[in-house]
Symmetry: D2
Subunit: 337 residues, 4 copies
């Protein structure tokens, strides 16, 4: 870390900080500049150490140098992680495609969708059984009944099942049915839940919170990895900005950025990332071009009658066309889809 | 709701939507404009109905008219709610002041702080026993040991205890010690947790998520109210914006806005809202001037050696001066503090 | 417009607003809802009318229905505008590629770059002669000397010249040398300048301001169109958000969104949009996949010694590889590049 | 500056960067850390030097240490600047109050307003004669006619006149009538205009751009100061964030932050900062409590009939009450108003 002293810091304050750096187990290097002094503190870094130094007298700011995430870092493991769950694979040459409705609504709805997305080339089925809803008065999902229908759809189509788990106490039940446990954006920093899925053997799809930085997202992944589960996929699903013509702003530069920083695969969600069906195909294609390892897309037999997220869901024909578009881009970049 | 049709929408599409509006139990009024048609859909509103209409053919957008929160709304209950918990009161003439360290660290630390903040005029003691930390490698709190120390500090000073609960499974334990259950910003949309504290009788301090809209915040409160607990305080603690000179951006207009929309009291957290000790006194005073019903402030005997958040904590002298400043503003506005 | 009355609005207030709507030349339709009354005001819409109604007694909000931009709107002209300037074309099947240094620095620098980007497939040359710099102490450009060097590079390579004009008084001089006048992001709402370039016959590349909404961007274009210049290209170059790992956040959904709303071509700037050379190739490819009509890319013979923006500039080899990548994606989507 | 090398940087890359640092006239200090090497580059700092180093091989990032603004910095001049213009003073014990309509509309309107705001305690009159409007179809101001009316109002009431200048070519005309030249938020980075007002002797009110950082704002002030005009006031008027319940988000922590960094006075604009009349009084009071040196408030005889910004304007009675509220807070803090 670099401890930058204020211009007007006294010699006594500089000496105090040099001592603090030593007390904290770091090695100080004092650099007297033209306008102010900085102290390089060599050794390990942590949020605690940084915060402690920031509170010191005469300190202007403390600049960290090392990334705070360890296991997720590409500096630790340079080869990419490939996450596999039944029919689904993500992180290698093949681009994984997770498709299905926002919520499981009925046997017919989920089975029809599973068949349609499988036929169009999806490699996993999504469907919410436990739904986190902004309003307590909204439909909250079919719960275990929904999980059973997902399992039935897997039995018939062979598609791996991706579904959200939203509370620690539900982890065993959801893990009994799902191939991939999804952590929703609202729960990205629900650390108890991250630890719970970290103790499972299923792969985890970790969605970025709408105002989470890249560092916070990687540290959330670190909770899961640290608990013993190495099969983590990160999902960019859009961030909250001043823009209102889209539901969220989908920052695709996350994909190459994360590829540079971590070995974990990166999935993109153009449905939530735009919030409008008509923007989904182009943004799915753009995600593939940006190097995404996977896509997660909302598909519904009849979006107008969906119990949630219809305005951003593709119907079967729309999904098929989106797949064709993406496949052309993937082929041009030597990826498979 | 107002269903705005696209300019190029066909007559058939308009008719389809009129029919849909009726099917959904609403009464349609068709208004043929100069450039396009809109359909006013009179009746109840919900996110589901809105989403369903948005998915319709020829629809440009759907504009909601009613606020989606019911119990929290000032239109339902116009007199302000006063939340009382032991020594602490908030929502009336008196401004509640919650002060204490980010984390409980030791008996001496919490007792010294409790005495100091009580002497300076605080009406409740804060202190984290269960800490949600961005990194899995950071100090996670003293857990039940910390709760016991908080209870001891209450016993000695009479200050009500405010402490965070971060998981459903911890609610009974935390509720056994605390007077006010705090829901942290990261958990604002952890609905299962909201329901759990909604079933308790303790007051709840609900912190706004860093990218939550006012509507989402009020709907989170609605989860608690709907579960049966009317003693909810909202806490503005800063939002995530492009600004980097402060840790978060503290939007004090939330205070008068919320006072116009809801009967629940509004507390402000200038410590997290700025992230820098030197900005806290002025922003505390500004919060009082904006009409805040309460303040929550981080205070530590020795911020430089705090195990978390030292850079935004006041020491005892700083807290006392901040209280003097705020009291002058409060008195000028006929509030008590 | 829809005038939404407050729940507690009196009958007199509703009547007052009905009268106001009539006074403003609009036709009122009163719709008495379950909880509140709304008044649909049919007729023309403008910011003035909206603001006036918003100030009325008992009014909760006023919801506009029509887009405020007229000439730029796709509802007015459904076929896409193709902008052509010498060697450069944008808006049709061909994707225009503008490449070159941030600043013109010397004859050798600009000629070498022009030859290299031409060889790699660029269709226009960019280079700043007048530079808007955040700090008054930074290099401000070679001014007319730089324009002459750009013209020389055009003479030799045949590439159209794209360069920024940053003040009304410079428009005639810059227009004497340039094929495309660029309006920088900082000047997007410099209306006098927009009007000035609107009176020229050169094509205009209008960059989106970092916090401009889509509507504000289209209204800025409207200033140019309204002044008589139909050759306007919009440029998405990234917005300011809480993200810090990129210089700006590049929201590619702007491309399909703008294609739905306007007939003007859409260019993307992945150099400013990311601020890091290593993220540019993937984001350029993603822009093409999202349907961009053009790209603008910073290229420098020796980025490390560039007088500005070196950290986001490609060197010649990097540009060539980026072009190959983009061409593969373009070909897959039946575009030419 | 601190040059942080990538973990995998080679010895040759480190040596190359040491050489570069020397070539750029800085003195390198190499610090070999546990995981990576950093090079402290001691000497002057500038955006150019930083950018150049960032483009070097093996460089992860470059951390600046010095503030890039010189003349505006409090490290250069620690006593506060007091700006005086006729009846108006700002930066000392007295809080300056600028009040008046968004646009000058008629003689009666501006004279009535001038009398009313003077009676209620304003020390300067605002009023737009040249209006920058988002849409080309909106009212653009009365131009010189408006300036004459402002001068007439000054003659009668003695109030100093504050009015916006929006183009370099208008500076002489506006300066002939105004006591304070306002630079609007859209023009904060219109550097030619900043230089032009920097050559005048009138005081300047520089509004922060809606997505400008504090550093960019101070550098914009630096353009004016550097051109020779020391009478600059900074104005916080709200930033663009994801919030929609207010027109902008008003971050009052700017006030104490700027007081720590610069000697220039800080004015707050709660009218634009909130965009809603009913939020203005509390936010004006909060601004005073945060330590603002001045307020600028929109006041109109009949907001419902204002030609612009009526929804955020106070009427005469509202202004008077706001002044009373603010005066109470000011008195409590030993300020005059």
């Amino acid at each position: 870390m670099i401890v930058v002293m204020r211009k007007e810091a006294s010699q006594a304050e500089v000496e105090h900080m040099v001592e603090r750096v030593q007390q904290l187990g770091l090695k100080p290097h004092v650099i007297v500049g033209v306008e102010r002094t900085v102290i390089a503190a060599v050794g390990s870094e942590s949020k605690e150490l940084k915060e402690s130094l920031e509170s010191g007298p005469g300190v202007a700011e403390v600049l960290p140098i090392l990334a705070p995430y360890k296991v997720a870092s590409r500096e630790v493991k340079s080869e990419r992680t490939v996450v596999t769950a039944g029919s689904f694979s993500c992180g290698g040459k093949q681009i994984g495609v997770i498709a299905g409705p926002c919520s499981v609504e009925s046997e017919k709805q989920i089975l029809d969708t599973a068949r349609a997305v499988k036929a169009a080339g999806a490699t996993a089925l999504r469907g919410g059984a436990f739904k986190p809803r902004t309003s307590p008065y909204s439909f909250q999902g079919m719960k275990e009944e929904g999980l059973k229908l997902l399992a039935k759809a897997r039995e018939e189509t062979g598609l791996a099942v991706v579904t959200e788990v939203l509370a620690t106490e539900d982890v065993p039940m959801v893990a009994a049915y799902a191939d991939v446990l999804q952590i929703g954006a609202r729960n990205m920093q629900n650390y108890r839940l991250l630890e719970a899925v970290g103790r499972e053997k299923q792969a985890v799809l970790l969605k970025r919170g709408p105002s989470a930085t890249m560092e916070e997202t990687l540290l959330a992944a670190e909770y899961i990895l640290d608990a013993g589960n190495p099969n983590v996929m990160l999902c960019e699903r859009g961030i909250r900005t001043f823009e209102t013509h889209t539901r969220f702003t989908l920052p695709l530069a996350s994909v190459p950025y994360l590829h540079a920083k971590t070995h974990l695969p990166v999935v993109v969600d153009p449905s939530h990332g735009t919030g409008h069906t008509y923007l989904v195909p182009q943004m799915a294609a753009a995600s593939v071009a940006a190097g995404a390892d996977g896509l997660i897309l909302e598909v519904h037999p009849d979006p107008e009658r969906a119990s949630s997220d219809g305005y951003q869901s593709l119907n079967f024909e729309g999904f098929q066309k989106t797949m064709e578009l993406c496949r052309r881009v993937a082929a041009a970049l030597d990826r498979e889809m």
